[in-house]
């Protein structure tokens, strides 16, 4: 069972909680012990807005165990408004083709489901298309 592990990073998964470096003010996601920009100690929490753009993307036709039910699914590198890039599934795409530069916003969804046997369901962030008017 991996419950402690999922519990430990729940703030990141549900609310995109990262850090702002007290030394150089760079925004960090996910949180680290050391700021990747200045090398100082990083510990000040910062909640990201959840807004960003697609930096790159792929559409997957093969999935690792626990993710097969979503196939085919799009995964993107999302560049957050505040700077960092995150890896996340795209959702609610409808007929809309994905494009690099497309504005997206974070939503909370089921991201992994191991089925009845192990009973592990993991929720976390995905990103959906954002209306241009919001940007």
């Amino acid at each position: 069972m991996e419950n402690p592990r999922h519990w430990r990073i729940r703030k990141q998964r549900y609310a995109l909680v990262g850090e702002v470096c007290p030394h150089c003010e760079v925004k960090i996601f996910p949180p680290r012990d050391v700021c990747p920009n200045c090398g100082g100690e990083a510990k000040t929490q910062f909640a990201f807005s959840g807004k960003g753009t697609v930096f790159s993307f792929t559409v997957m036709n093969d999935a690792p165990a626990g993710y097969e039910k979503n196939l085919p699914y799009a995964v993107a590198l999302v560049k957050l408004e505040e700077g960092p890039i995150v890896t996340a599934q795209l959702t609610d795409l409808g007929d809309q083709p994905v494009e690099i530069g497309m504005p997206v916003e974070m939503v909370t969804r089921r991201i992994r489901d191991d089925g009845d046997e192990k009973g592990i369901i993991v929720y976390g962030y995905k990103f959906r298309p954002a209306f241009a008017s919001q940007h």
């Binding site: 790159s56 792929t58 559409v59 093969d62 890896t87 993991v122």
Partner: protein, 387 residues
């Protein structure tokens, strides 16, 4: 100090070995390498492996493999660096012998893929990405390559079909390699119609995961038995570099900085420039990674590596042959063993024993083994010993 030389090599065919166990695969390669080294007895075994603990539920290969090779008592340690595990194990063997603490070391890369199949295998392999922030989103190694390739296509706008040159070259070269998994050429048409795996990466852009084991015996030149009649290959440069594990933590995912740093380090030690090598065994786990490796090593400007595939430069009779025995794509990709296969193949070229694939007058090779999207990069310069 005496040169560190490759005194012997051994390999088993890459493929789906349903009837051969992890340990048997490794032992066969080890015994073949020791035999090729004139029976030289190793004092240490360094093992490159990625999946044994998850796929075969077997850890501590450092005890298991010496035991089953009838070498119980010697030093035995496993190196894990994702797809660069084999290159990493070779690096450890080199350091051990070069330091003088170990006279003779056997390095074996082994991977047993077929103990599981399907999504469970995908997940085991994907555990070499950032588990909390990449695999958690359903990412695989192939999807990582998809993200990189999409960005490359967007940024540099190469013709999509140009990437076919890399798998086509690999398959062409595998025809002459009896240890390769796919010994048949493929056509541009087959490439163009290959099913999409992780857009824009298609089935021909990715090397197939397979079982395999390869081994080399490293020793000091003065310790090589007189009975060894084949030419020796010395290690003249060795370097490892790392990058961020997660692709998203890089401001420039197309830079492959670790790949560049490892080439620079190995060439600096060997006292050469990359263009001084006669061939380059790179990591074509995905065709886009072959392109980025060429650019990172300085063989092409950023955004233009794909062009080298089109003008014959990379063929066996070209200026910079790559994938000379079929590469990952056509030899097969036995993850943690792949880096040792690369060393074995380069050594055979340098010994003049590459058969119909022989590169004329091959004296010096650059060998680079990547883990993930160059999260780890291991580079070695190998040279034929004169006389």
């Amino acid at each position: 100090m005496s040169d560190v030389v490759i005194a012997g090599v051994g390999q088993i065919p890459v493929g789906e070995h349903w009837d051969v166990s992890l340990r048997s695969q490794a032992v066969r390669a080890v015994l073949a390498a020791i035999k090729d080294a004139g029976g030289l007895k190793p004092q240490a075994m360094y093992i490159g492996n990625l999946l044994a603990p998850t796929v075969s539920h077997q850890s501590n290969l450092g005890a298991l493999l010496p035991d089953w090779s009838n070498l119980t008592g010697i030093e035995g340690i496993t190196v894990e660096a994702a797809g660069a595990s084999g290159g990493g194990a070779f690096r450890l063997g080199y350091l051990a012998v070069a330091s003088g603490f170990v006279d003779t070391a056997v390095v074996v890369g082994v991977e047993k893929i077929t103990d599981v199949v399907g999504p469970e295998l995908e997940r085991a392999i994907a555990e070499s990405t950032d588990y909390d922030y990449e695999l958690a989103q359903g990412l695989t190694l192939t999807a990582q390559a998809g993200l990189v390739m999409q960005l490359y296509l967007h940024q540099y706008k190469p013709p999509r079909e140009a990437f076919a040159a890399f798998p086509m070259l690999a398959h062409e070269n595998a025809v002459g390699n009896p240890f390769a998994m796919y010994r048949k050429p493929i056509s541009q048409k087959a490439y163009d119609s290959a099913p999409m795996v992780s857009e824009p990466v298609n089935l021909m852009d990715m090397a197939p995961y397979a079982d395999g084991a390869a081994a080399v015996v490293l020793t000091r030149r003065d310790l090589v038995p007189d009975s060894v009649s084949h030419p020796l290959v010395k290690v003249s440069g060795s370097s490892v570099a790392s990058d961020t594990l997660a692709l998203h933590d890089r401001s420039d995912p197309l830079a492959f900085d670790a790949a560049r740093l490892s080439v620079e380090g190995a060439c600096r030690q060997a006292g050469i420039l990359p263009q001084d090598v006669d061939f380059f065994e790179l990591t074509d786990a995905f065709s886009i990674y072959a392109v980025l490796s060429l650019e990172a090593a300085g063989f092409a400007p950023r955004g233009e590596g794909w062009k080298l595939g089109l003008d014959g430069t990379l063929r066996r009779d070209g200026k910079l042959p790559i994938l000379t025995m079929g590469g990952f794509k056509a030899r097969g990709n036995p993850l943690g063993a792949a880096g040792v296969y690369q060393i074995v193949e380069a050594a055979l070229q340098l010994r003049g024993e590459a058969g119909s694939n022989q590169i004329p007058n091959a004296r010096r090779a650059l060998v680079q083994n990547l883990g993930g999207p160059a999260s780890t990069a291991v580079a070695h310069v190998l040279e034929r010993v004169n006389g």
